[in-house]
Symmetry: C2
Subunit: 356 residues, 2 copies
């Protein structure tokens, strides 16, 4: 499956009139990548209404790559990529990415360049919410690497190994399996550290009787996998098994609520109510999930106060957790794709409690 970047740019251009703009200056790197295929830390793209083609600016470090992969786009070599493109839009009403462009950059471009800048909220992110099948296929690959790495690293998780060593083993195995790098900083939290949702893996060794939570994923071709599993090292205590079963039931409820047309609030509530009914409402302090794609966290977000409804072909995580300070915690997370009816599960590792 190939990606049609020109079609994406055409969709963006078609949205400009309703944003009261003649053109849009895309400066957020991941959005430039979405619209051109170019991954660069210094690039910008000008997309205009009508017949005028797109213009891509980047600096000498990326110019050869840009010419190779964007043969159908006019390319400008310039270090001040935004300044160069704003200059090309003199006299136009030029939309800029208000959620990304720093206020100093907004003033610099507005003062100097003769275009009228129109701050617009996330014009490219809106297009990115619903994925095409080529993107979903890339996510399938990233999630398959993640599943396989977890299976391969399970034998490493035994008393004495440190959180950091487990994280490194997962990351090394993902790289061997073809990941470009980890999709985000891996979380490995053993025993009481499991009560910290975003614990950084440290030198604590795993002990018999620990629950160990691992939240990690592969980045592959720009797309991010995200999975969390909690395992028991040694036979779990009653409270540990009860906590696990509760979170697993909540996660199932969240997955089953995920379908086209469901509200972001209702999907969150389906899982949250299970946890609240068990008396743990105060121990699940974060949202239920988030979209994934070219960013690890992107629209839509699932939470009690999140707006909007789920659409078909939206990859998203479902990741309830219960955190008991001083004792530990459980989180279970899958990456799924919302569909018309049942979601497609991309992370396929078992959700049975693994006792190692």
């Amino acid at each position: 499956m190939t990606v049609d970047h020109a079609a994406r740019r055409a969709r963006l251009a078609a949205a400009l009139p309703e944003l009261s703009a003649d053109a849009v200056l895309v400066t957020k790197p991941v959005n430039v990548r979405y619209l051109t295929g170019l991954a660069s830390s210094n690039a910008a793209l000008l997309v205009r209404v009508g017949e005028a083609g797109a213009v891509l600016a980047t600096d000498v470090r990326y110019i050869e790559t840009a010419r190779r992969i964007c043969p159908d786009v006019e390319i400008v070599q310039e270090r001040d990529v935004a300044g160069a493109l704003a200059g090309r839009a003199a006299g136009a009403r030029l939309a800029v990415e208000a959620h990304h462009m720093p206020v100093a950059e907004f003033h610099r471009l507005g003062d100097a360049r003769g275009a009228t800048l129109v701050p617009v909220s996330a014009p490219v992110e809106r297009l990115r919410v619903v994925k095409d099948e080529a993107e979903i296929d890339l996510l399938r690959t990233a999630c398959a690497i993640t599943d396989q790495a977890f299976a391969d690293v399970l034998p490493v998780i035994r008393p004495g190994v440190t959180e950091r060593e487990i994280a490194r083993a997962l990351e090394t195995r993902m790289a061997e399996l073809g990941a470009d790098k980890p999709a985000f900083d891996s979380i490995v939290a053993a025993g009481p550290n499991g009560a910290v949702p975003h614990h950084s893996p440290g030198d604590r060794p795993v002990r018999r009787g620990d629950l160990v939570t691992m939240d990690f994923g592969a980045l592959s071709a720009g797309y991010h996998a995200d999975m969390t599993r909690t395992v028991a090292v040694g036979e779990p205590a009653g409270w540990q098994r009860d906590l696990y079963d509760l979170v697993r039931e909540a996660q199932r409820a969240g997955r089953h609520a995920l379908r086209r047309g469901a509200s972001a609030h209702d999907v969150d509530a389906a899982a949250r109510e299970v946890i609240a009914a068990a008396g743990h409402a105060g121990d699940f302090g974060h949202g239920l999930g988030h979209g994934v794609g070219l960013e690890i966290h992107e629209d839509p977000f699932l939470g009690p106060d999140k707006p909007g409804r789920i659409e078909d072909r939206v990859p998203i995580t479902v990741e309830p957790g219960v955190y008991l300070p001083g004792k530990g915690g459980v989180r279970i997370e899958d990456t799924l794709v919302a569909r018309d009816d049942r979601p497609e599960l991309l992370t396929k590792t078992t959700k049975e409690l693994l006792v190692l």
Copy 2:
């Protein structure tokens, strides 16, 4: 050596009057980390003139960590971290980080919170340019890991191994040696790919007769190492050896020009003139170097049009390159610390041409 975060906050508070501000809202994550020690993707810090202490806001995922490592700071648990702190500054003239805060966030906070927002350019980055000895020590560690990984991976670089495999070997070895992760996406460019300064490592195998450029480094305790070496696989051709000698001579000239009081322009020129004199002015299209610390690219920058002068205790890279499209390239880069006189070299790998 321990880090005195309170002293850093006091220096920031002392700078507020000249910025015409009563308080500053720090929202850039790496700056929050510099001032508190907390590494979080969602945290903000309020620093005020006078007796009022600092206030740190973060969400449930990081709150336990914040309480543990910042016992001397008032801590607020809130998802909207910037909104919560702006509310605490009602009536004040509140400096915000104009180079970081998105224009939409600037309008949101300004409209709703009763503080008068004052966009200020990089108030914390200014403090971060000159490092304390504890920071330089962390950079020494990151650079030592980088050197050792390079030495250990040299035997891997032989005909048939791919760019990607070399990058993975470097990254795995850095992790084994204690790195938290790579400081940036590693560059490995073999043969003609060496003409692309920021080439992404791919499936091209190394061939006898290639120059291979590797630009990589370790991230350790938040601090970034950055080193580039170019090696020859098999006996180099005359043009390859000449190119290497030229870049090496330019890099030496740049290092020797680096001292307290030198202008950023002059340090760049010292290296650039060597390359220009050999007829390659057009083949060195990027700046000579950049500061390193909690970010991989930070002030000061060395380039033909860069302002400012070098100070004592400023870690910085010196990295000239010559790139010949279709043929290949050479880049040689060290991380150094500018001192009163001779710079301190942190990356100690030989700059003799290694023929593998």
